[in-house]
Protein backbone atom coordinates (compact mmCIF):
# COMPACT_ATOMS: atom_id res chain seq x y z
CA UNK A 1 0.00 0.00 0.00
CA UNK A 2 2.83 2.37 0.88
CA UNK A 3 4.50 1.68 -2.44
CA UNK A 4 1.31 2.46 -4.28
CA UNK A 5 1.11 5.75 -2.40
CA UNK A 6 4.72 6.51 -3.34
CA UNK A 7 3.93 6.01 -7.01
CA UNK A 8 0.94 8.31 -6.63
CA UNK A 9 3.07 10.99 -4.90
CA UNK A 10 5.63 10.81 -7.73
CA UNK A 11 3.03 10.99 -10.50
CA UNK A 12 2.43 13.96 -12.73
CA UNK A 13 -1.24 14.16 -11.84
CA UNK A 14 -0.50 14.54 -8.12
CA UNK A 15 2.15 17.23 -8.62
CA UNK A 16 0.52 19.24 -11.38
CA UNK A 17 0.09 22.85 -10.34
CA UNK A 18 -2.55 25.16 -11.81
CA UNK A 19 0.14 27.25 -13.53
CA UNK A 20 1.67 24.20 -15.17
CA UNK A 21 -1.73 23.06 -16.35
CA UNK A 22 -2.41 26.45 -17.94
CA UNK A 23 1.00 26.45 -19.60
CA UNK A 24 0.47 22.96 -21.00
CA UNK A 25 -2.78 24.26 -22.48
CA UNK A 26 -0.88 27.25 -23.90
CA UNK A 27 1.63 24.83 -25.45
CA UNK A 28 -1.20 22.78 -26.96
CA UNK A 29 -2.76 25.97 -28.32
CA UNK A 30 0.53 26.87 -30.01
CA UNK A 31 0.56 23.37 -31.54
CA UNK A 32 -2.99 23.95 -32.79
CA UNK A 33 -2.00 27.31 -34.32
CA UNK A 34 1.04 25.72 -35.97
CA UNK A 35 -0.66 22.60 -37.32
CA UNK A 36 -4.18 23.73 -38.12
CA UNK A 37 -3.74 27.45 -38.79
CA UNK A 38 -0.24 27.06 -40.28
CA UNK A 39 1.16 29.97 -38.20
CA UNK A 40 4.94 29.84 -38.76
CA UNK A 41 4.79 26.08 -38.12
CA UNK A 42 8.56 25.61 -38.44
CA UNK A 43 9.03 27.46 -35.17
CA UNK A 44 5.73 27.39 -33.35
CA UNK A 45 5.59 23.58 -33.49
CA UNK A 46 8.89 23.02 -31.62
CA UNK A 47 8.14 25.98 -29.33
CA UNK A 48 4.69 24.65 -28.44
CA UNK A 49 5.95 21.11 -27.89
CA UNK A 50 8.83 22.25 -25.70
CA UNK A 51 6.32 24.39 -23.81
CA UNK A 52 4.42 21.22 -22.94
CA UNK A 53 7.62 19.33 -22.06
CA UNK A 54 8.89 22.16 -19.86
CA UNK A 55 5.74 22.03 -17.74
CA UNK A 56 5.62 18.32 -17.05
CA UNK A 57 5.76 18.18 -13.27
CA UNK A 58 8.64 16.26 -11.65
CA UNK A 59 10.51 15.92 -14.98
CA UNK A 60 12.35 19.24 -14.60
CA UNK A 61 13.41 19.29 -18.24
CA UNK A 62 13.68 23.05 -18.44
CA UNK A 63 15.48 23.45 -15.11
CA UNK A 64 19.16 23.57 -14.19
CA UNK A 65 20.68 21.07 -11.76
CA UNK A 66 20.40 23.59 -8.92
CA UNK A 67 16.74 24.34 -9.62
CA UNK A 68 16.02 20.63 -9.68
CA UNK A 69 17.93 20.12 -6.44
CA UNK A 70 15.93 22.91 -4.79
CA UNK A 71 12.68 21.48 -6.08
CA UNK A 72 13.30 17.99 -4.75
CA UNK A 73 14.91 19.57 -1.67
CA UNK A 74 16.43 17.07 0.71
CA UNK A 75 17.70 18.81 3.85
CA UNK A 76 21.37 17.88 3.31
CA UNK A 77 21.52 19.27 -0.21
CA UNK A 78 19.72 22.44 0.86
CA UNK A 79 22.28 22.99 3.61
CA UNK A 80 25.19 22.55 1.19
CA UNK A 81 23.62 24.93 -1.32
CA UNK A 82 22.91 27.51 1.40
CA UNK A 83 26.60 27.44 2.34
CA UNK A 84 27.70 28.01 -1.26
CA UNK A 85 25.16 30.78 -1.83
CA UNK A 86 26.01 32.39 1.51
CA UNK A 87 22.50 32.20 2.97
CA UNK A 88 21.46 31.51 6.53
CA UNK A 89 17.92 30.48 5.64
CA UNK A 90 17.12 27.11 4.08
CA UNK A 91 13.98 28.27 2.32
CA UNK A 92 14.14 26.90 -1.29
CA UNK A 93 12.46 30.00 -2.80
CA UNK A 94 14.90 32.31 -1.08
CA UNK A 95 17.83 30.14 -2.25
CA UNK A 96 16.47 30.15 -5.77
CA UNK A 97 16.43 33.94 -5.91
CA UNK A 98 19.99 34.07 -4.55
CA UNK A 99 20.98 31.56 -7.24
CA UNK A 100 19.41 33.66 -10.03
CA UNK A 101 21.16 36.81 -8.84
CA UNK A 102 24.53 35.22 -8.11
CA UNK A 103 27.65 35.92 -10.14
CA UNK A 104 29.18 33.39 -12.53
CA UNK A 105 31.59 31.74 -10.08
CA UNK A 106 28.95 31.22 -7.36
CA UNK A 107 26.60 29.98 -10.05
CA UNK A 108 29.15 27.37 -11.14
CA UNK A 109 29.90 26.35 -7.54
CA UNK A 110 26.18 25.84 -6.82
CA UNK A 111 25.84 23.76 -9.98
CA UNK A 112 28.71 21.52 -8.91
CA UNK A 113 27.18 21.01 -5.46
CA UNK A 114 23.87 20.03 -7.07
CA UNK A 115 25.64 17.67 -9.46
CA UNK A 116 27.54 16.04 -6.58
CA UNK A 117 24.18 15.38 -4.98
CA UNK A 118 23.10 13.56 -8.14
CA UNK A 119 20.96 16.21 -9.82
CA UNK A 120 21.46 17.09 -13.47
CA UNK A 121 20.52 19.85 -15.86
CA UNK A 122 17.31 19.15 -17.73
CA UNK A 123 17.62 18.40 -21.44
CA UNK A 124 15.83 21.57 -22.55
CA UNK A 125 17.96 23.64 -20.17
CA UNK A 126 21.09 22.26 -21.87
CA UNK A 127 19.67 23.02 -25.31
CA UNK A 128 18.92 26.55 -24.20
CA UNK A 129 22.42 27.14 -22.87
CA UNK A 130 24.20 25.72 -25.88
CA UNK A 131 21.97 27.10 -28.61
CA UNK A 132 20.45 30.34 -27.35
CA UNK A 133 22.27 31.68 -24.28
CA UNK A 134 25.54 31.40 -26.20
CA UNK A 135 24.00 33.42 -29.04
CA UNK A 136 24.92 30.70 -31.53
CA UNK A 137 21.53 29.61 -32.87
CA UNK A 138 20.14 33.02 -33.90
CA UNK A 139 23.45 33.85 -35.59
CA UNK A 140 23.60 30.57 -37.52
CA UNK A 141 20.03 31.13 -38.64
CA UNK A 142 20.99 34.62 -39.75
CA UNK A 143 23.79 33.10 -41.82
CA UNK A 144 21.26 30.80 -43.47
CA UNK A 145 18.91 33.73 -44.11
CA UNK A 146 21.84 35.54 -45.73
CA UNK A 147 22.46 32.53 -47.94
CA UNK A 148 18.79 32.56 -48.98
CA UNK A 149 18.61 36.30 -49.69
CA UNK A 150 18.90 37.71 -53.19
CA UNK A 151 20.00 41.33 -53.03
CA UNK A 152 19.35 41.81 -56.75
CA UNK A 153 16.14 43.88 -56.40
CA UNK A 154 17.77 46.02 -53.71
CA UNK A 155 20.88 46.66 -55.82
CA UNK A 156 18.77 47.54 -58.82
CA UNK A 157 16.95 50.20 -56.79
CA UNK A 158 19.07 51.12 -53.73
CA UNK A 159 16.67 53.90 -52.71
CA UNK A 160 14.34 51.23 -51.35
CA UNK A 161 16.78 51.03 -48.42
CA UNK A 162 15.08 54.17 -47.09
CA UNK A 163 11.83 52.23 -46.82
CA UNK A 164 13.60 49.56 -44.78
CA UNK A 165 14.93 52.29 -42.51
CA UNK A 166 11.56 53.99 -42.04
CA UNK A 167 9.81 50.79 -41.07
CA UNK A 168 12.17 50.44 -38.11
CA UNK A 169 10.31 53.35 -36.54
CA UNK A 170 7.92 50.73 -35.18
CA UNK A 171 10.71 49.37 -33.00
CA UNK A 172 11.56 52.66 -31.38
CA UNK A 173 7.96 53.84 -31.05
CA UNK A 174 7.21 50.63 -29.17
CA UNK A 175 10.14 51.19 -26.80
CA UNK A 176 8.64 54.56 -26.04
CA UNK A 177 5.21 52.95 -25.61
CA UNK A 178 6.57 50.40 -23.13
CA UNK A 179 8.35 53.14 -21.20
CA UNK A 180 5.19 55.27 -21.17
CA UNK A 181 3.13 52.36 -19.84
CA UNK A 182 5.68 52.01 -17.04
CA UNK A 183 5.55 55.74 -16.28
CA UNK A 184 1.75 55.58 -16.05
CA UNK A 185 2.11 52.67 -13.67
CA UNK A 186 0.19 50.22 -15.87
CA UNK A 187 3.14 47.90 -16.46
CA UNK A 188 6.60 47.62 -15.04
CA UNK A 189 9.32 47.48 -17.69
CA UNK A 190 12.92 48.57 -17.37
CA UNK A 191 14.58 50.28 -20.34
CA UNK A 192 16.38 47.04 -21.24
CA UNK A 193 13.09 45.15 -21.23
CA UNK A 194 11.42 47.89 -23.26
CA UNK A 195 14.20 47.70 -25.86
CA UNK A 196 13.89 43.92 -26.12
CA UNK A 197 10.11 44.21 -26.59
CA UNK A 198 10.45 46.91 -29.22
CA UNK A 199 12.58 44.69 -31.42
CA UNK A 200 9.46 42.55 -32.04
CA UNK A 201 8.58 45.36 -34.46
CA UNK A 202 11.62 44.37 -36.53
CA UNK A 203 9.52 41.34 -37.56
CA UNK A 204 12.64 39.26 -37.62
CA UNK A 205 12.67 36.16 -35.40
CA UNK A 206 16.41 35.57 -35.00
CA UNK A 207 17.11 39.27 -34.36
CA UNK A 208 14.38 39.44 -31.71
CA UNK A 209 15.74 36.32 -30.00
CA UNK A 210 19.32 37.57 -30.16
CA UNK A 211 18.46 40.95 -28.66
CA UNK A 212 16.26 39.55 -25.91
CA UNK A 213 18.92 37.03 -24.81
CA UNK A 214 21.27 39.99 -24.53
CA UNK A 215 18.95 42.46 -22.83
CA UNK A 216 16.13 40.59 -21.09
CA UNK A 217 16.56 36.79 -21.12
CA UNK A 218 13.64 36.28 -18.70
CA UNK A 219 11.23 37.69 -21.31
CA UNK A 220 12.58 35.53 -24.14
CA UNK A 221 9.63 33.11 -24.20
CA UNK A 222 6.98 35.80 -24.48
CA UNK A 223 8.97 37.91 -26.95
CA UNK A 224 9.79 35.02 -29.29
CA UNK A 225 6.24 33.67 -29.23
CA UNK A 226 4.69 37.05 -29.99
CA UNK A 227 7.29 37.83 -32.69
CA UNK A 228 6.58 34.60 -34.56
CA UNK A 229 2.84 34.73 -33.98
CA UNK A 230 2.60 38.26 -35.37
CA UNK A 231 4.86 37.40 -38.30
CA UNK A 232 2.29 34.77 -39.18
CA UNK A 233 -0.41 37.41 -38.84
CA UNK A 234 1.26 39.85 -41.26
CA UNK A 235 -1.28 39.11 -44.04
CA UNK A 236 -4.06 40.15 -41.66
CA UNK A 237 -2.42 43.05 -39.81
CA UNK A 238 -0.91 44.95 -42.72
CA UNK A 239 -3.60 45.29 -45.44
CA UNK A 240 -6.07 47.47 -43.49
CA UNK A 241 -3.28 49.89 -42.55
CA UNK A 242 -1.99 49.96 -46.13
CA UNK A 243 -5.47 50.61 -47.55
CA UNK A 244 -6.10 53.34 -45.02
CA UNK A 245 -2.94 55.26 -45.87
CA UNK A 246 -3.00 55.03 -49.68
CA UNK A 247 -5.42 56.20 -52.35
CA UNK A 248 -6.67 53.99 -55.14
CA UNK A 249 -4.57 55.97 -57.64
CA UNK A 250 -1.42 55.43 -55.59
CA UNK A 251 -2.04 51.71 -55.36
CA UNK A 252 -2.27 51.56 -59.15
CA UNK A 253 1.21 53.03 -59.72
CA UNK A 254 3.18 50.74 -62.02
CA UNK A 255 6.89 50.67 -61.27
CA UNK A 256 9.49 50.56 -64.02
CA UNK A 257 11.21 47.25 -64.59
CA UNK A 258 14.34 46.59 -62.52
CA UNK A 259 17.68 46.76 -64.30
CA UNK A 260 20.01 43.81 -64.67
CA UNK A 261 22.41 43.41 -61.73
CA UNK A 262 25.80 41.89 -62.48
CA UNK A 263 27.37 39.07 -60.49
CA UNK A 264 30.28 41.26 -59.43
CA UNK A 265 27.88 43.77 -57.83
CA UNK A 266 26.20 40.97 -55.92
CA UNK A 267 29.58 39.76 -54.65
CA UNK A 268 30.74 43.25 -53.67
CA UNK A 269 27.53 44.20 -51.84
CA UNK A 270 27.94 41.98 -48.74
CA UNK A 271 31.56 43.06 -48.53
CA UNK A 272 30.69 46.78 -48.64
CA UNK A 273 27.98 46.25 -46.05
CA UNK A 274 30.50 44.46 -43.84
CA UNK A 275 33.03 47.29 -44.13
CA UNK A 276 30.34 49.82 -43.25
CA UNK A 277 29.30 47.80 -40.19
CA UNK A 278 32.92 47.42 -39.09
CA UNK A 279 33.47 51.16 -39.37
CA UNK A 280 30.25 52.41 -37.84
CA UNK A 281 28.50 49.91 -35.62
CA UNK A 282 30.61 46.99 -34.32
CA UNK A 283 27.71 46.01 -32.04
CA UNK A 284 25.76 44.85 -35.09
CA UNK A 285 28.78 42.92 -36.37
CA UNK A 286 27.74 39.48 -35.05
CA UNK A 287 24.32 39.66 -36.75
CA UNK A 288 25.27 41.44 -39.97
CA UNK A 289 28.64 39.70 -40.18
CA UNK A 290 27.01 36.27 -40.27
CA UNK A 291 24.37 37.62 -42.65
CA UNK A 292 27.01 38.95 -45.06
CA UNK A 293 29.01 35.73 -44.78
CA UNK A 294 25.97 33.65 -45.74
CA UNK A 295 25.20 35.97 -48.64
CA UNK A 296 28.77 35.93 -49.92
CA UNK A 297 28.72 32.11 -49.90
CA UNK A 298 25.59 32.27 -52.06
CA UNK A 299 26.79 34.85 -54.55
CA UNK A 300 30.46 33.99 -55.01
CA UNK A 301 29.53 30.77 -56.80
CA UNK A 302 32.57 28.75 -55.73
CA UNK A 303 31.21 27.23 -52.51
CA UNK A 304 27.79 26.03 -53.59
CA UNK A 305 28.04 23.08 -51.21
CA UNK A 306 28.51 25.33 -48.18
CA UNK A 307 25.79 27.70 -49.33
CA UNK A 308 23.44 24.77 -49.83
CA UNK A 309 24.15 23.46 -46.33
CA UNK A 310 23.72 26.89 -44.75
CA UNK A 311 20.33 27.48 -46.34
CA UNK A 312 18.93 23.97 -45.97
CA UNK A 313 20.34 21.30 -43.66
CA UNK A 314 22.05 23.56 -41.13
CA UNK A 315 19.26 26.09 -40.77
CA UNK A 316 16.77 23.25 -40.29
CA UNK A 317 18.84 21.59 -37.58
CA UNK A 318 19.38 24.86 -35.76
CA UNK A 319 15.69 25.77 -36.06
CA UNK A 320 14.74 22.60 -34.19
CA UNK A 321 17.06 23.42 -31.29
CA UNK A 322 16.15 27.08 -31.31
CA UNK A 323 12.45 26.24 -31.14
CA UNK A 324 12.90 23.74 -28.31
CA UNK A 325 15.11 26.16 -26.38
CA UNK A 326 12.67 29.04 -26.70
CA UNK A 327 9.80 26.74 -25.70
CA UNK A 328 11.71 25.76 -22.56
CA UNK A 329 11.23 29.35 -21.39
CA UNK A 330 7.46 28.86 -21.35
CA UNK A 331 7.44 27.72 -17.75
CA UNK A 332 4.54 28.85 -15.62
CA UNK A 333 6.47 31.03 -13.20
CA UNK A 334 8.04 33.06 -16.02
CA UNK A 335 5.22 33.25 -18.56
CA UNK A 336 2.01 33.67 -16.56
CA UNK A 337 2.50 37.32 -15.80
CA UNK A 338 0.93 40.67 -16.65
CA UNK A 339 4.15 41.44 -18.52
CA UNK A 340 3.38 38.77 -21.11
CA UNK A 341 0.05 40.41 -21.83
CA UNK A 342 1.79 43.76 -22.18
CA UNK A 343 4.36 42.25 -24.55
CA UNK A 344 1.63 40.76 -26.75
CA UNK A 345 -0.12 44.14 -26.90
CA UNK A 346 3.02 46.17 -27.58
CA UNK A 347 4.16 43.65 -30.21
CA UNK A 348 1.13 44.25 -32.42
CA UNK A 349 1.51 48.01 -31.98
CA UNK A 350 5.13 47.70 -33.13
CA UNK A 351 4.03 45.88 -36.29
CA UNK A 352 1.31 48.37 -37.10
CA UNK A 353 3.50 51.44 -36.55
CA UNK A 354 6.33 49.94 -38.63
CA UNK A 355 3.96 49.20 -41.50
CA UNK A 356 2.50 52.70 -41.41
CA UNK A 357 5.94 54.33 -41.27
CA UNK A 358 7.10 52.36 -44.32
CA UNK A 359 4.05 53.33 -46.37
CA UNK A 360 4.29 56.99 -45.35
CA UNK A 361 8.00 57.06 -46.20
CA UNK A 362 7.23 55.73 -49.69
CA UNK A 363 4.67 58.53 -50.15
CA UNK A 364 7.17 61.10 -48.93
CA UNK A 365 9.81 59.83 -51.36
CA UNK A 366 7.30 60.12 -54.19
CA UNK A 367 6.63 63.75 -53.19
CA UNK A 368 10.31 64.63 -52.92
CA UNK A 369 11.22 63.09 -56.23
CA UNK A 370 8.19 64.73 -57.79
CA UNK A 371 6.78 61.76 -59.57
CA UNK A 372 5.22 58.38 -59.35
CA UNK A 373 8.39 56.34 -59.11
CA UNK A 374 7.37 54.28 -56.11
CA UNK A 375 4.15 52.47 -55.35
CA UNK A 376 3.54 53.18 -51.63
CA UNK A 377 2.35 49.60 -51.17
CA UNK A 378 5.94 48.36 -51.22
CA UNK A 379 6.74 50.57 -48.21
CA UNK A 380 5.04 48.15 -45.85
CA UNK A 381 7.50 45.43 -46.90
CA UNK A 382 10.16 47.38 -45.02
CA UNK A 383 9.21 45.50 -41.83
CA UNK A 384 11.35 42.46 -42.79
CA UNK A 385 9.11 39.35 -42.37
CA UNK A 386 10.63 37.99 -45.58
CA UNK A 387 8.93 37.10 -47.87
CA UNK A 388 5.45 37.38 -46.36
CA UNK A 389 5.37 41.19 -46.29
CA UNK A 390 6.47 41.41 -49.93
CA UNK A 391 3.70 38.99 -50.91
CA UNK A 392 1.17 41.17 -49.10
CA UNK A 393 2.34 44.21 -51.11
CA UNK A 394 2.07 42.20 -54.31
CA UNK A 395 -1.43 41.03 -53.45
CA UNK A 396 -2.74 44.51 -52.73
CA UNK A 397 -1.11 45.81 -55.89
CA UNK A 398 -2.87 43.14 -57.95
CA UNK A 399 -6.19 44.05 -56.32
CA UNK A 400 -5.85 47.62 -57.56
CA UNK A 401 -4.45 46.73 -60.97
CA UNK A 402 -4.44 43.07 -62.12
CA UNK A 403 -1.46 43.75 -64.42
CA UNK A 404 0.75 45.22 -61.70
CA UNK A 405 3.23 42.76 -60.22
CA UNK A 406 5.01 44.38 -57.28
CA UNK A 407 6.66 41.26 -55.83
CA UNK A 408 10.20 41.89 -57.08
CA UNK A 409 9.96 45.60 -56.27
CA UNK A 410 8.79 44.78 -52.75
CA UNK A 411 11.68 42.37 -52.20
CA UNK A 412 14.02 45.41 -52.17
CA UNK A 413 12.55 47.08 -49.07
CA UNK A 414 11.93 43.62 -47.64
CA UNK A 415 15.62 42.66 -47.48
CA UNK A 416 16.46 46.27 -46.58
CA UNK A 417 14.21 45.72 -43.57
CA UNK A 418 16.36 42.77 -42.48
CA UNK A 419 19.46 44.98 -42.59
CA UNK A 420 17.54 47.80 -40.90
CA UNK A 421 16.35 45.68 -37.99
CA UNK A 422 19.84 44.24 -37.49
CA UNK A 423 21.22 47.79 -37.36
CA UNK A 424 18.47 48.79 -34.93
CA UNK A 425 19.36 45.74 -32.82
CA UNK A 426 23.00 46.83 -32.78
CA UNK A 427 21.99 50.32 -31.68
CA UNK A 428 19.81 48.92 -28.87
CA UNK A 429 22.61 46.68 -27.63
CA UNK A 430 25.06 49.57 -27.74
CA UNK A 431 22.87 52.13 -25.97
CA UNK A 432 21.07 49.94 -23.48
CA UNK A 433 23.12 46.78 -23.02
Amino acid sequence: MEKLLNIWYASGAYNLSIGQMIMILVGLMLLYLAIHKKFEPLLLLPIGFAGVLANIPQAGMAFSAVENALYFASADVLRDLAVVLGSSSLDPDHLKHLYYDSNASTHAAASLVAQDAGYNNGMLYNFYNIAVASGAAPLIIFMGVGAMTDFGPLLANPRTLFLGAAAQFGIFATVLGAVALTAMGVMDFSLREAAAIGIIGGADGPTAIYVSTMLAPHLLGAIAVSAYAYMALVPMVQPPIMRLLTTQAERKIVMSQLRHVSKLEKILFPLSLLVLVALLLPDAAPLLGMFCFGNLMRECGVVDRLSDTAQNALINIVTIFLGLSVGSKLSADKFLDMQTLGIMLLGIVAFAVGTAAGVLMAKLMNKLMGGNAINPLIGSAGVSAVPMAARVSNKLGLEANPQNFLLMHAMGPNVAGVIGSAVAAGVMIKFVG
Binding site: V175, L191, E265, G420
Partner: protein
Amino acid sequence: MDDLIAEGLSLMVFGMGFVIVFLTLLVFVTSLMSRLVMRFEPAPVAKPAVTRSPSAAQPAQNDAELVAVMTAAIRKFRSDRDGQ
Protein backbone atom coordinates in the same frame (compact mmCIF):
# COMPACT_ATOMS: atom_id res chain seq x y z
CA MET B 1 9.77 57.95 -13.93
CA ASP B 2 10.41 61.08 -16.03
CA ASP B 3 14.00 59.88 -16.31
CA LEU B 4 12.79 56.67 -17.89
CA ILE B 5 10.67 58.57 -20.43
CA ALA B 6 13.61 60.84 -21.23
CA GLU B 7 15.83 57.81 -21.75
CA GLY B 8 13.19 56.22 -23.97
CA LEU B 9 12.90 59.40 -26.01
CA SER B 10 16.64 59.74 -26.46
CA LEU B 11 16.90 56.08 -27.43
CA MET B 12 14.20 56.70 -30.05
CA VAL B 13 15.83 59.83 -31.48
CA PHE B 14 19.38 58.47 -31.49
CA GLY B 15 18.39 54.97 -32.54
CA MET B 16 16.16 56.03 -35.40
CA GLY B 17 18.68 58.69 -36.43
CA PHE B 18 21.46 56.15 -36.51
CA VAL B 19 19.44 53.64 -38.54
CA ILE B 20 18.63 56.33 -41.11
CA VAL B 21 22.23 57.58 -41.29
CA PHE B 22 23.56 54.04 -41.65
CA LEU B 23 21.17 53.07 -44.41
CA THR B 24 21.67 56.40 -46.20
CA LEU B 25 25.39 55.73 -46.24
CA LEU B 26 24.65 52.24 -47.49
CA VAL B 27 22.62 53.75 -50.35
CA PHE B 28 25.59 55.93 -51.33
CA VAL B 29 28.14 53.14 -51.01
CA THR B 30 25.95 50.76 -53.00
CA SER B 31 25.27 53.27 -55.77
CA LEU B 32 28.96 54.14 -55.99
CA MET B 33 29.91 50.47 -56.09
CA SER B 34 27.35 49.75 -58.82
CA ARG B 35 28.55 52.69 -60.90
CA LEU B 36 32.18 51.59 -60.62
CA VAL B 37 31.32 48.02 -61.51
CA MET B 38 29.31 49.13 -64.53
CA ARG B 39 32.14 51.35 -65.73
CA PHE B 40 34.87 48.72 -65.47
CA GLU B 41 32.86 45.74 -66.53
CA PRO B 42 31.82 45.59 -70.20
CA ALA B 43 28.09 45.91 -70.73
CA PRO B 44 26.51 42.65 -69.64
CA VAL B 45 23.75 42.90 -72.25
CA ALA B 46 25.95 41.81 -75.15
CA LYS B 47 27.06 38.55 -73.57
CA PRO B 48 23.71 36.85 -73.02
CA ALA B 49 22.71 37.81 -76.57
CA VAL B 50 25.78 36.05 -77.98
CA THR B 51 25.33 32.94 -75.91
CA ARG B 52 21.65 32.79 -76.61
CA SER B 53 21.80 32.79 -80.41
CA PRO B 54 23.66 29.50 -80.93
CA SER B 55 21.59 27.74 -78.29
CA ALA B 56 18.46 29.01 -79.99
CA ALA B 57 19.71 27.98 -83.42
CA GLN B 58 20.54 24.44 -82.41
CA PRO B 59 17.03 23.27 -81.60
CA ALA B 60 15.81 24.93 -84.81
CA GLN B 61 18.31 22.94 -86.83
CA ASN B 62 17.32 19.78 -85.03
CA ASP B 63 13.69 20.56 -85.70
CA ALA B 64 14.33 20.87 -89.41
CA GLU B 65 16.16 17.55 -89.42
CA LEU B 66 13.39 15.94 -87.41
CA VAL B 67 10.70 17.24 -89.75
CA ALA B 68 12.62 15.89 -92.75
CA VAL B 69 12.99 12.47 -91.17
CA MET B 70 9.35 12.32 -90.16
CA THR B 71 8.14 13.44 -93.58
CA ALA B 72 10.24 10.75 -95.20
CA ALA B 73 8.93 8.14 -92.78
CA ILE B 74 5.33 9.10 -93.40
CA ARG B 75 5.84 9.06 -97.15
CA LYS B 76 7.40 5.62 -96.93
CA PHE B 77 4.56 4.38 -94.72
CA ARG B 78 1.91 5.71 -97.07
CA SER B 79 3.60 4.33 -100.16
CA ASP B 80 3.96 0.93 -98.43
CA ARG B 81 0.28 0.96 -97.42
CA ASP B 82 -0.82 1.99 -100.93
CA GLY B 83 1.30 -0.76 -102.38
CA GLN B 84 -0.40 -3.51 -100.35
